[in-house]
Amino acid sequence: MAVSVSVPSEVVTDRAGAPRRGRRPGRARLIAVALILVAALIFLLVEGLGSSLDYFDTVAQALAHKQTIGTSTIRLEGVVVRGSVEHTATGTDFVISSNDRHVRVDNTGDPPQLFQPGIPVVVVGHFVSASSDRFLSNQIMVKHSADYIAAHPNRVRAPNGSTR
């Protein structure tokens, strides 16, 4: 009885029942699958050019459409400005910037261990008001770069701040 299960009658009848049509529906189906795949890829490429899947707004982007953001909760990205970090009783205050636009961040809670001036961070929170450039955050995520540079006590920085 088990053998009758394993010899797949569907295939046999397929071939026996429709010997002529065996080729064309297969090809049509293949083309249909290929079309769907291409359509999916095009959709994603178009979607990729859009920004709906962006994880955060940069400081410059957020300030550019600040009216629509209002005081809703967003993720905001910028580089921590050197010399701006102050530790307060409830957390950390600092300024983040991108493209010469600045936002002052009041963060509640402890920053992650890699938090330091000069590196990009993503803060989660909202602007105090639609007209304010103060941002209240309750979470900091460090967005480190994809560069790997050996720590060296005597490293010299180029005038533009980069290291090689």
């Binding site: 088990a2 053998v3 299960v5 010899v7 992650p112 994809a146």
Partner: protein
């Protein structure tokens, strides 16, 4: 009990009834053919490479300017992701294409794709795990739903679906065709994972080596150790896939041989008793072409009988 297990159980029983002892369905010759020397060489190379990567990664390379000692995960996480995305799922998609293409159609490609996906799924899970271990101390979170992380998690689910599809009972050819299509569809996510950090703003950093400018910023010994990590993981992948392929082939061969032998024996039995060959099912339930196809060729494979 799966279809495969059922068939082999039935076939083994048939052989037992006839000879008292089950015959080995996998002989030494097949074992030898599926165990070439290069597989062992690759395994040893992978092991040595990984050992060297660990030593260099933990003790020889310097800490990073920003990340400090946390940077050492770079010698593990990207090579693991490289194996999962590009080698394993790439090979699976390629094999699936070659299976679907009429000229190169062979169950060899189906088995290779299956072996490759299985290894790929392990490495995909490891990619997520090592990424989380790295993300917690550096970013500050174990997980977040940015485009890179989400598309990578989706990739794991897609290929787990592929493995589930392989478990659906079907004739070898039917299953192979289904799974080949599924593998190609699932592979569409791989370029999305790769370009997610370029197309969208993500918390995950961009590519270090294959960045849009193709100008990696990674210092001397760190770069060499990373390269060694890639090579070692590649060797490990080749070794694991070849072993998994061998197991897949042996399992298929065991089913095929035992089923064919059982069918042949039952046929001989019916012939000896002067009745038409029915395989014990009653004449109407066995299509005529199956009966004639198996007559006189006990080594014929299941696939060939079906055809």
């Amino acid at each position: 009990m799966s279809m495969t297990e059922e068939v082999s159980a039935v076939a083994m029983k048939a052989m037992k009834d006839h000879q008292g002892e089950p015959r080995p369905v996998i002989d030494d010759e097949l074992h030898r053919r599926l165990r070439p020397r290069w597989v062992r060489v690759t395994g040893v190379a992978g092991l040595l490479g990984l050992t060297a990567t660990v030593v260099l990664g933990l003790w020889v390379t310097p800490p990073d300017e920003t990340q400090g000692n946390l940077v050492r995960l770079v010698y593990l996480h990207p090579p693991v992701a490289w194996v999962a995305l590009y080698l394993a799922f790439g090979l699976a998609a390629l094999s699936s294409l070659l299976y679907l293409w009429r000229r190169t159609r062979s169950l060899f490609w189906d088995r290779l794709a299956a072996a490759s996906v299985e290894v790929g799924v392990v490495f995909n899970a490891l990619t997520l795990a090592t990424g989380m271990l790295w993300g917690r101390p550096t970013w500050g979170v174990w997980w977040t739903w940015d485009a890179r992380l989400t598309s990578t998690a989706l990739l794991l689910v897609l290929f787990l679906g592929y493995l589930a599809l392989r478990r659906v009972p079907a004739a070898p050819e039917v299953r192979a065709r289904r799974c080949a299509v599924a593998a190609i569809v699932a592979f569409v996510d791989v370029p999305i994972v790769h370009f997610s950090v370029v197309w969208w703003q993500t918390l995950h950093q961009g590519a270090t080596v294959l960045n849009p400018d193709l100008s990696p910023t990674i210092h001397g010994s760190m770069a060499w150790t990373l390269l060694l990590g890639f090579l070692a993981m590649t060797a490990v992948f080749v070794w694991m896939v070849s072993i998994r392929y061998r197991i897949e082939t042996l399992a298929d061969e065991a089913v095929t041989r035992s089923l064919a032998t059982a069918l042949a024996e039952r046929w001989a039995e019916d012939e000896a008793s002067g009745t038409a060959p029915t395989f014990g099912l009653g004449a109407s339930s066995v299509p005529e072409e199956v009966v004639s196809a198996t007559r006189g060729d006990p080594q014929m494979s299941v696939g060939e009988i079906v055809r």
